[in-house]
């Protein structure tokens, strides 16, 4: 992870900005946004990694996927 911070300005729909301020207060917006953005980027990259594996190896058998879903539901 690169060190340091970069200051950026973003525009949000008014209702979202209000909800954000209510949720975290003005001072923690950067921390909240950093966490949300990191999470979203990781989610996208995980999708890409899974797509790559599917492309190279073929899809995972539905039964194996169902077992994994059941394990997750129990967690």
């Amino acid at each position: 992870m690169a060190s340091g911070v970069a200051k950026i300005s973003i525009s949000l729909p008014r209702d979202l900005a209000k909800a954000l301020a209510r949720r975290v207060g003005a001072r923690s917006v950067s921390e909240f946004a950093a966490r949300a953005i990191r999470h979203e980027l990781e989610h996208e990259r995980l999708g890409a990694l899974l797509g790559e594996l599917d492309e190279n190896l073929g899809p995972v058998a539905p039964g194996v996927l169902e077992e994994a879903r059941a394990a997750w539901r129990k967690s």
């Binding site: 995980l46 890409a48 967690s75």
Partner: protein, 138 residues
């Protein structure tokens, strides 16, 4: 339900060296896909790198998975190490299982987590006292 998926050495290796015929790779891909469905984070405790990165040519595949940006490494800190020690003591297991204990302690530190592992017996023993950590066998 879990919010984090933790990969142990065998889970990370199974993904890095995945083949179409490998059962472990299919199960590892399946739990990774389910983590994605739940928008969960995927994490590798740093101690696991000692087991999978041996400085040889096989490291390249592991490095490729980690460089995807889909999976982040969680550094071992003093609190996690102490928690791991307590888990080893409670399970009456020796330091030979230190990396397994780091895996479970890292999972516990991150909240509700599921550990994908090639060693469900030892990980399960260590996780017995961590109610928010569950085990998924490859």
């Amino acid at each position: 339900m879990a919010e984090v998926l933790i990969l142990d050495a065998e889970a990370l290796s199974a993904l890095a060296h995945a083949t179409a015929r490998s059962v472990a790779a299919a199960r590892a891909r399946a739990i990774l896909a389910v983590a994605h469905e739940h928008r969960a984070l995927v994490r590798v405790p740093s101690a696991v790198l000692a087991e999978v990165c041996r400085g040889g040519a096989r490291d390249a595949a592991v490095n490729r998975v980690l460089a995807s940006g889909a999976i982040a490494i969680v550094n071992l800190d003093a609190a996690i190490a102490r928690r791991a020690g307590a888990l080893l003591a409670a399970a009456k297991m020796s330091s030979a299982h230190a990396v397994d204990a780091f895996v479970v302690a890292t999972a516990a530190a991150l909240g509700r987590a599921i550990v994908a592992t090639g060693d469900p017996d030892d990980i399960g023993r260590l996780a017995a006292r961590e109610p928010h950590v569950s085990v998924y066998a490859l």
